[in-house]
């Protein structure tokens, strides 16, 4: 099993969720986060006051998938989250040792 973590632009969330749903990935955790990569920050001025936009709002998606579905999920995310501009985000993968469904204590891929 693999945990897939994707940081994406907030405006891409609906498209990414829909694309994942189409390939059968319906379970995920969505968080509102802030961050930056190389795009870093910039200073804006509003009515004479400067404010720094250094941590930009992003969306983090997390899901644990059977290994066989990871590639399809990655491709779906890449297809729908990409705008081609700096700030599109990143995908991270980590191995998962075990998954357990709390309701009925199912384990392994059956719990996903």
């Amino acid at each position: 099993m693999t945990k897939l973590e994707a940081i994406i632009q907030p405006s891409r969330l609906d498209s990414v969720k829909e694309a994942l749903r189409e390939i059968g990935v319906t379970g995920m955790t969505v968080s509102e986060v802030r961050g930056h990569g190389r795009q870093k920050g910039h200073t804006e001025v509003y009515r004479g006051s400067e404010y720094t936009v250094d941590l930009l709002p992003k969306i983090k998606l997390e899901m644990v998938l059977p290994d066989g579905r990871v590639d399809a999920a990655i491709q779906s995310i890449l297809k729908t989250a990409k705008t081609g501009k700096i700030g599109d985000g990143k995908i991270f993968l980590t191995k998962v040792d075990e998954a357990i469904r709390i309701r009925n204590e199912e384990r392994g891929e059956a719990a996903l």
């Binding site: 907030p10 405006s11 969330l13 609906d14 001025v45 509003y46 004479g48 404010y51």
Partner: protein, 883 residues
């Protein structure tokens, strides 16, 4: 543990069978009260049998132990899966030790039977003490009921220990109950109007009913030294409503327990459907539409909620002479029509009246001071409403009175009271369709009317925040977004209009229309007409209601850091005042979905979209110009229609051509038509002046041909008359006709107190612009402007240039502190340096001035040398003590 041959071995089967029988009986009758009493009796029988088998076969023995039912069990209110609370009351510690093993066996046996038992063992002395870390025990003991064992021990508990405790610690008990209730209510948003309410814990639920009972018990025990049936001591009207509510809630909770097969009290959508189709709580077997059934639930919950809050308020003592002084001060809030006593309003003349002004005056008092109505006042309202309400619809003073209410610090408290008493739907029948309306939605937690009132509450909270933090520059910090939004709220010219629009924005959800926005717009049309709102305000209302979801859609679904997104959104909004209203409406709307909906993350996104759009609207002004005939503008068609009978109608296109689009966005068709009429007079009178008194300031409109020093002349004239300019717009069309609008405050009330000065003022403006009067001469005899207050936070003068926002002008942004004659000083500097003002946007936020000028010099942008000159001149002129 029971053995197979023990008399107790069949108890679990017996309990299960009897329990199921109670369930079948409930399914047939729908009678929740009977079901809870039946289960209590069943458990009594089992507990009695177990006690006498394991502890004492003799009645009324042993003498040093007594078994007592507490809490719900003590009240004979055992819901199908409620826990059993038992108290083993012992005479002393040795008795506790001697009975410990038997008690443990008894409790285990009851668990084996299938009962979930919570048990405590206490001495009499412990029962008369306040357990600050376990006040729930003291409260539960109020509902104690004898089951078995020593009657004498029970008597000592009921007649000595508890009255002694209540007599000594009444305030702590009541305060604790109040605190727990307040926390519980806050957890549920302080409202009964949840789409899926928790029948036990939510405001207006069974726990609130019990709180009301406990408060009465405490009061009666203190007075009489013994326990009573609390409901019997309630006023008959309150008791009838509470009884009906309990019957309904009890039946519904039984249904939930049977369906969930555990102690779960969430009234989900599915269970609402089942309860409605079974007629649970009302007429068993008679199905109801779910929406109607839920309205019944809300009605009952509301009456329980009010009952509890009332009893809490009456029970909480005046803790200090300071409180007494506060209450005495509140009495001074009485007026000719209403008196205020102990924080509640009473009508001086309780006879029935049909005067809508008097009725509205009552709620104005609530809105002004946050007072509550006495029971007498509520009765008076209910009796007056049919007659006064019928007159209110056509009452010309309705909007002035209602807008006063909306602008007062406790407006939402007044609106909630009006809604609760049915006044709101009489004044605004359009609102009736969303009364207690449930719209099933994954995100929304409240009924539609509660959601609407909660949006207004969010706005009101911004006003409070603004007053608490005072004026000053916004600071960049985590979680400062609400403070920034509070600043926007304080800048609104007519915040009461935003409140009115919010009241109407979702009424369409109660109409049989496909798109609720269309329904809300219909409601707005009828309300605006009835209230006599101006065309400009109506236009704004229509825009906001029609687009009230636009900003949240943009910030969640579009890239707000993309300039195309900002441009598209700005084009849709058109003007900064509308943007402010839409931002605040969006903030309030999201916040009212549920308590967690507006995360700091979303608030930040909302703020950033607002700031970027403001910057775009301000800086992109120069680029967006009207091209008459090239674009299909609905507003222009309306203006065309208004001027169609004028002999000069054909000149409309030339008049509008070249104005910034902002001109169209910030003026109604009627205003534009009036400006056109003024422009038509320029042939005979080259300076056209119009002056209008507004509620809080004056508006001067000047139309004339552009020329050097024009803006400086106008601002100098205003300064000479001692007028403080709050806002100004300066636009020019392609033909070179300038339309300047100034909103100013008459600091010395010259115009207000001397009506003849109005014409003299207008003549003065014309004379300066036509050269008849020399501005310097006028200014030498000027009224010395009042020194404005020193800003608490220093506002250093900032001058910024922007070369990119406009293709043919240089944008100058000036931030500084306000002072008399400021705009004249600035425009003089610009004029002296041969800078032509193409567009000017002047605004003030408290003592801070934000001026934006689109400048050209000799028809081109300002080169860097000119910019340096301008900057140096402005900084030199404007630096120094503002006083």
């Amino acid at each position: 543990m029971t053995s197979q041959s023990s008399p107790l071995s069949s108890l679990s089967g017996f309990y299960a069978a009897e329990w199921a029988g109670i369930g079948r009986q409930f399914a047939n009758s729908g009678d929740g009260r009977a079901a809870v009493v039946a289960r209590s009796s069943l458990v009594d029988a089992i507990v009695d049998q177990v006690y006498h088998h394991l502890i004492s076969p003799e009645r009324n023995a042993p003498l040093d132990l007594c078994l007592i039912a507490l809490g719900g069990y003590g009240r004979r209110e055992l819901f199908p899966h409620s826990d059993i609370d038992l108290l083993f009351l012992v005479a002393d510690r040795p008795a506790e030790t001697s009975h410990r093993e038997a008690i443990a066996v008894m409790v285990r046996t009851l668990w084996d039977v299938g009962l979930r038992v919570g048990q405590s063992t206490r001495t009499i002395s412990e029962c008369s003490q306040l357990h600050r870390d376990n006040l729930e025990f003291n409260i539960a003991a109020l509902d104690s009921r004898y089951l078995a064992g020593s009657p004498e021990l029970f008597r000592r508990l009921r007649d000595d220990a508890i009255p002694h405790l209540v007599g000594r610690d009444r305030q702590d008990l009541v305060r604790n109950l109040a605190d727990m209730t307040e926390q519980r209510h806050a957890k549920f948003g302080n409202t009964v109007f949840h789409l899926e309410p928790n029948l036990k814990e939510a405001p207006g639920g069974l726990r609130d009913y019990h709180v009301a009972c406990w408060l009465t018990l405490i009061s009666e025990i203190e007075k009489k030294g013994r326990s009573v049936a609390p409901e019997e001591h309630w006023p008959p009207a309150l008791r009838a409503a509470a009884d009906a509510a309990f019957t309904f809630l009890a039946a519904t909770r039984c249904l939930l327990h049977y369906r969930y097969d555990r102690d779960d009290n969430l009234l989900t959508y599915e269970l609402q459907d089942e309860a409605a189709s079974s007629g649970i709580g009302s007429e068993p077997g008679r199905p109801l539409p779910t929406a109607d059934w839920m309205r019944t639930y809300f009605r009952h919950a509301r009456s329980v909620f009010q009952l509890t809050n009332r009893f809490l308020e009456e029970a909480l003592p005046a803790t200090s002479s300071l409180y007494g002084l506060f209450q005495k001060w509140r009495s001074r809030l009485s007026n000719a029509d209403f008196s205020v006593l102990r924080g509640r309003i009473f009508p001086r003349q309780p006879s029935i009246v049909d005067d809508p002004a008097l009725l509205l005056g009552l709620f104005e008092l609530v809105a002004r001071h946050g007072l509550e109505l006495s029971r007498e006042a509520e009765r008076w309202v209910e009796e007056c409403l049919p007659r006064a309400g019928a007159k209110a619809a056509g009452f010309p003073g309705l909007w002035p009175a209602f807008r006063r209410i909306l602008n007062l610090p406790h407006a939402v408290e007044a609106l909630r009271t009006m809604h609760r008493l049915g006044v709101l739907v009489v004044l605004f029948p359009e609102f009736a369709v969303i009364d207690c309306l449930v719209i099933r939605d994954y995100y929304h937690r409240y009924t539609v009317d509660e959601h609407t009132l909660t949006t207004l509450q969010s706005l009101q909270a911004l006003g409070v925040l603004r007053r608490e933090t005072g004026s000053g520059r916004p600071r960049q910090e985590e979680g400062g977004w609400e403070r920034k939004l509070a600043e926007i709220y304080s800048e609104l010219e007519q915040p009461e209009l935003l409140s009115l629009y919010l009241l109407l924005h979702d009424v369409g959800k109660g109409m049989p229309v496909e798109n609720h926005l269309a329904g809300s717009l219909d409601a707005e049309a009828t309300v605006s007409k009835r209230l006599g709102l101006g065309a400009g305000d109506r236009e704004t209302a229509r825009f906001l209601i029609a687009n009230h979801l636009e900003m949240s859609a943009t910030l969640l679904r579009r890239d707000i850091f993309d300039s195309d997104t900002v441009r598209a959104f700005a084009d849709k909004v058109g003007a900064t005042e509308r943007l402010k209203m839409l931002t605040l409406l969006t903030y309030a709307d999201i916040k009212a979905v549920n308590p967690e909906a507006l995360t700091p993350w979303k608030a930040e996104m909302l703020w950033r979209l607002y700031a970027q759009t403001t910057n775009y609207l301000t800086r992109g002004l120069d680029e967006e110009r009207v091209h008459f005939g090239a674009e299909n503008l609905a507003k222009v068609d309306e203006v065309r229609r208004l001027v169609s009978t004028s002999a000069n109608a054909g000149g409309l296109g030339a008049f509008l051509e070249g104005f910034p689009k902002r001109y169209l966005e910030t003026h109604s068709p009627e205003e534009i038509a009036a400006h056109f009429a003024m422009a038509c007079q320029l042939v005979s009178a080259p300076v056209q002046v119009a002056l209008r008194a507004r509620e809080r300031n004056f508006e001067l409109t000047v139309l004339t041909a552009d020329r050097p020093f024009l803006f400086a002349s106008l601002t100098g004239t205003l300064a000479a008359w001692g007028m403080n300019i709050l806002k100004a717009d300066a636009f020019a069309n392609r033909a070179g006709t300038v339309l300047d609008t100034f909103r100013f405050v008459d600091l010395h009330r010259t115009l207000e107190l001397n009506p003849t000065e109005v014409d003299r003022f207008k003549t003065s403006v014309m004379d300066v612009l036509t050269g008849k009067v020399n501005l310097e001469t006028l200014m030498s005899g000027r009224v010395n402007g009042q020194a404005l207050a020193r800003p608490k936070v220093p506002i250093p003068t900032q001058v910024r240039f922007d070369e990119t926002s406009s293709s043919h002008s240089t944008l100058l942004e000036l931030i500084t502190h306000d002072r008399p004659g400021l705009l004249y000083q600035v425009s003089s500097v610009l004029a002296n340096l041969e800078c032509n003002i193409e567009v000017a946007l002047i605004d003030t936020e408290g003592l801070k001035v934000i001026d934006v000028f689109y400048l050209t010099s000799r028809g081109s942008k300002l080169d860097s040398a000119k910019q340096d000159q301008v900057q140096a001149a402005l900084l030199g002129r404007l630096s120094g003590d503002p006083a």
